[in-house]
Symmetry: C2
Subunit: 713 residues, 2 copies
């Protein structure tokens, strides 16, 4: 640490100590806000660190975020008394919640953003028409999980099937979270295998059915906890029908008016504006649904679903991603904070948790694997599909939060659900990996070419890779493909249409496209057209700007010159008599002049980059001047060499004249310094014929510098 730093810390410590008297005087509302802001700040750090740590050992980051919440929460570290924090940094909330309502409200908005994004990604087309196989498997998994989950409650809590707690245990067990499954499929290049495609299709059914069943369960629970007496099977059916009807009605309205909604939103031209407004719709629907006794997330999901088929869906997803990254980890942390560690660490809770978890795993393996066996998959394929559907995730957590806030779940049952979420997400990846690694096809009938084919590309820069991927996705959408961001952090997208599926991974400047071998010609054609499209755009750009004309125009413009720039000129870097007879020889000679004065880190790299720049467009200007230059990693800091060749050399100059005066500028790529300013300044000075001719016929290197510094310009 620098000395200044130490002094600053010392002074600051003194001032802080001396000023704690301020703290006691603040008003209550600002105290509440200061606490909240500190808490959110701490959560942001805790979740990122937790997420990163578990990811290192191959566990999905959401679990790290959840555990971070447990650790820093009011039942653990957050409850420890500290100076200035009489109840800890995360004091235990006073009501049913373990955290403050202010913090909980951020988690609530987070859950809405999460389900809105999830709805936005839902491929309703796939749900409605494509995969009978996916549908049957999805339904099998949801029904099995619900019934078995509920039955665990019936047996262990000794109560009836329609006990709200049992209904919650049932519904909590339904929602599969395939993010982690998609990651494993992609890692093992199985995204486009029959099992992979089926899992992703089944997951869509799982999502939609899960939401419908949640609506129905909440409808029933609301009436039951309202104490309206005993419910007959008939009245339960009526309530369920009503809840389903509300879901269906809003979904139908959303879809019917989706284009009108999108057009209204597009009226607010800026993409950030209409994306936030779209989220506003989700918030409004969420509020309305909650007031109707349904869950907010159902409204948010429907809002997303309605917009999912519109042309602004992709833009909205991208624009709200920053919000997602800020809010959603807060939600996981807050759910972790609700976990009362001491209450969970008891034999009954752990046994309940173990039973519930095992049942939850079996429910998906049997509920999805069974139908898979009947639908053309063999045992291997069925196991792959079953295990792929095992992980429960964010939606289970959200519903658990709803149950806790509504008082249906107590701390112990909440803990049981958290355990189930943790363990299913932990065991699914290794299980799936193992089943995927067993060699052989997972289907009984012969399938279309099962091999997947991979195409890897290295682009010149991240920006170009972005541009190529964006253009490709845009083209695929125009082609009728449904494009879905599977995992934004890993830059993993999937595009599907009928039975064609391709996954696109963008990692810095590398893009990988993966698809069935039979579809590779289509993919390559698409990429080929993207390349031509971009190259055409750049050509148009060049045509509309005409670099040569621009270069000429620049040479003729009057500009002002900052003579300060010429202080970096050194006599040792000037050659009054270059030997080279060709462009390449001159450039090599000047690079060696720089190398001779130890200006370069890597002589060959500099030479290559300067020649490369010449190839793009010659730096030979008018009136015998040439400015060979490059930004290159072969140099430590900006360096300038000057060379003179009295009889001149053909440098492919603008006016065809031979070049006699050469100024070479090389700068590091990232911190080039006044590279372009120097080029502009030297160009301006050398417009004066007198200066030019005097320099070319100069007798000494110092004269060259003096002439440049004293030029009138």
């Amino acid at each position: 640490m620098s000395k200044t730093g130490k002094i600053a810390i010392a002074v600051l410590g003194f001032l802080l100590l001396g000023s704690t008297v301020f703290a006691e005087e603040t008003e209550s509302i600002t105290e509440v806000m200061a606490e909240l802001v500190l808490q959110i700040g701490i959560i942001i750090f805790a979740v990122r660190i937790g997420g990163r740590l578990v990811k290192k050992i191959g566990i999905p980051s959401v679990l790290g975020e959840l555990l971070a919440g447990v650790i820093i929460g009011p039942y653990a570290l957050g409850g420890i008394v500290l100076p200035g924090f009489p109840h800890g940094i995360f004091p235990l909330g006073s009501g049913t919640l373990a955290v403050s309502t202010e913090l909980y409200s951020f988690a609530t908005v987070a859950s809405i953003i999460l389900l809105f994004a999830s709805g936005l990604e839902t491929d309703l087309g796939l749900f409605l028409r494509y995969s009978v196989v996916g549908g049957v498997i999805g339904i099998g998994g949801v029904v099995f999980s619900f019934v078995l989950g509920d039955l665990v409650g019936v047996f262990l809590l000794h109560t009836s099937f329609t006990d709200p707690r049992c209904l919650f245990l049932g519904i909590l067990s339904t929602a599969t979270s395939v993010g982690i499954t998609a990651r494993i499929l992609s890692d093992q290049k199985k995204m486009d295998s029959p099992e992979g495609v089926t899992i992703l299709a089944a997951a869509v059914f799982d999502d939609v059915l899960g939401i419908i069943m949640l609506a129905v369960v909440l409808g029933i629970v609301a009436v039951m906890t309202g104490g309206s007496g005993t419910l007959t099977a008939g009245s339960i059916l009526a309530i369920a029908g009503k809840a389903f009807g509300i879901w269906l009605g809003f979904t139908a309205l959303g879809l019917i008016f989706s284009k009108k909604i999108a057009n209204f939103l597009k009226f607010f031209k800026h993409s950030y504006d209409f994306s936030v407004l779209a989220l506003g719709i989700a918030l409004l629907l969420a509020g309305i649904f909650e007031r109707q006794g349904l869950a907010m997330i159902i409204g948010a999901y429907i809002a997303g679903l309605s917009l999912s088929k519109t042309d602004i869906a992709a833009v909205i997803q991208e624009r709200i991603h920053g919000l997602y990254e800020f809010f959603v980890p807060i939600f996981f942390a807050v759910m972790g904070m609700m976990v009362n560690v001491r209450e969970i660490a008891s034999a009954p809770v752990l046994i309940f948790g173990a039973v519930y978890t095992v049942v939850a795993i079996l429910a998906k393996v049997i509920g999805c694997g069974g139908p898979a066996l009947l639908m053309g998959f063999n045992g291997k394929g069925a196991m792959r599909i079953g295990t792929g559907m095992v992980p429960r995730g964010e939606v289970a957590l959200i519903i658990a939060g709803i149950g806790l806030a509504a008082g249906v779940l107590d701390n112990q049952l909440f803990g049981v659900v958290i355990l189930m979420t943790l363990i299913t997400t932990l065991v699914a990846p290794p299980l799936l990996s193992v089943t995927l690694k067993i060699p052989g096809s997972g289907t009984r009938k012969p399938v279309k070419d099962d091999d997947t084919s991979t195409m890897v590309w290295e682009f010149p820069s991240d920006e170009i890779a972005d541009l190529v991927v964006d253009t490709l996705l845009k083209d695929l959408r125009a082609e009728g493909f449904y494009v879905q961001m599977m995992n934004i952090d890993d830059g993993l997208s999937q595009a599907r249409k009928d039975d064609i599926a391709l996954s696109i991974t963008e990692e810095e400047s590398t893009v990988t496209v993966e698809t069935a071998k039979g579809d590779m010609p289509f993919v390559k054609t698409a990429v080929y057209e993207v390349l031509l499209e971009l190259s055409d755009a750049i050509d148009k750009l060049k045509a509309s700007t005409d670099p040569a004309a621009m270069r000429r125009e620049i040479s003729n413009l009057d500009g002002r010159t900052d003579k300060e720039l010429f202080t970096m000129l050194q006599p040792e870097l000037i050659s009054l008599d270059l030997k080279g007879e060709t462009k390449d020889e001159i450039i090599t000679e000047m690079v060696d002049l720089l190398a001779g004065q130890n200006k370069l880190l890597n002589r060959n790299e500099v030479l290559h980059d300067v020649l490369q720049r010449e190839k793009t467009m010659s730096t030979g200007m008018q009136h015998g001047i040439a400015l060979p230059h490059a930004k290159t990693d072969g140099v430590r800091s900006m360096s300038v060499a000057i060379g003179i060749k009295k009889d001149g050399v053909n440098f492919e100059s603008l006016d065809g004249e031979k070049s006699r005066l050469f100024i070479m500028v090389v700068s590091p790529k990232k911190t080039s310094g006044p590279h372009i300013q120097f080029l502009a300044a030297i160009g301006a000075v050398l417009k004066d014929e007198g200066v030019r001719e005097h320099i070319i016929s100069a007798d000494s290197r110092d004269d060259v510098i003096t002439l440049l510094r004293n030029a009138k310009k």
Copy 2:
């Protein structure tokens, strides 16, 4: 509306009516959340609509957002009793706040994001070294505004200068908001005039000084409201010194460790991760500052300032922009909601407001214009600078909110401040416009070429424009320029280094660069190098992929074919005997074949686009096949024509063979349909020599279709 839509609405209405019984049964916490979520949803819509409406009549959108808050707030529409809302949708808060603490907490986080972003944009380099003129003018404005603002309180409230209310009135009057000024300067092409540059430099001093003075004032107010008895001038100085010390200490620490902080953040590779973490630092510092009796926004500003010179500053700004767009308008709306309309509409308040506003305007005009007169500007220039500094904005609102929450400001004084903010922001633009329109220089000494010069570019697409601007800004940063986003909504950036300033506006695919005439050669050189850089990148892209080799590879790949695609073939769109003898003639003939069947909206446009696509890369394949195609706005839906020329035509094919079979595909740009799928499928089918030869020698158009549909592939 469709019939289905009507039915859906009817059913839904019935279900909603029948299910309102649910609502009464919900728990308190979910009710609170539902209310909050509804409120945020409504605010999102109200502010966007309000912002848009006022912008239409030329008023900055922040005022529209503020007014939207007033209108929907608890003192106006939001307090109206509605069915299901016994206290209105925005019930009056129970404590010192007019809104719920949950909603207020979103406004608080918003204020932190706002000041964090503002710190991130601060050009500390400019503050520390560049403009003595800007410094003196900035200081003049701040000191004058503070003293005069405080004195208004002294006279009208009949109290002392150190009365907390007076101190707040003083500090509230200091903070200039130059966003609107920058917009006007840019509109009138005066951003780079001496006055424009000076205003923007002075605004930096204004920001930094305003924050320091706020720290000092809050320090004093905290002690005074703590009731520590009378304060002597000496003790006030001590407190002020301590507050200043804390500010200075944290700022120094932040700047000293800025690189280390940035490196720590970059450890979290993904840009969203480290950007949210950077915001986490702002939240932590905000919480710490509040607990030290200083304002949260000071901590947030320092966090931003510390990171402003690091290489991740620009990425953070971009990544948190979505958060900014979501949160900040909520802040303005909540401030509007705090305005008690009835209390303000009284003579004393209005008179106080008028006096305070007039003084606030004069304070900046005199406080900034006076020093300007002494620093080389003439009366005209001084007026321009003075009026440019008049608008107060977001920072004044935040400080007013702090004063209200802390109980220093009552509803009436809060209203006075809102009035001042509204009016200064409303009158400044026309005042500045008028002074700018008076012809002639604003300086007494001769200046560098005063003319600004403008370069306008039309790019082939928004994406390319983005790419060019991003690359240009990156290069300018490498060149040592400080690049600042002046107004994200309008895509307006400014880059400055020493006395070179340029502004860059990106509006869809149009980019405008504006700078002093003398600096135009530099700017054009920079843009020229960007063009070459991009063109080189695309060339590398082409080289690394080699389109011709790729095209050949595609022709040789085995792919599967969806015969469904061939159902769109029509005998009327087949010609068995093309007449053309050249590539262009063949293409024209086939376009006319499509036009003859009324498939085209604009025949010439289609022809142009197909020829253009040929120019990029010929669509002549191997074995006598050519696939001329284009995406074009000249066609309504995807259309295919087939043509045969038995003796063949030179089509610049891959294998040099003459082309005999032509399949033309044209599709609309946006919803092309299976354009590429069709190209890939037809290519696969025609790989079979038998199919190819049979088609070329077919006797009837129907045979061609039959042959294609029945091909084995």
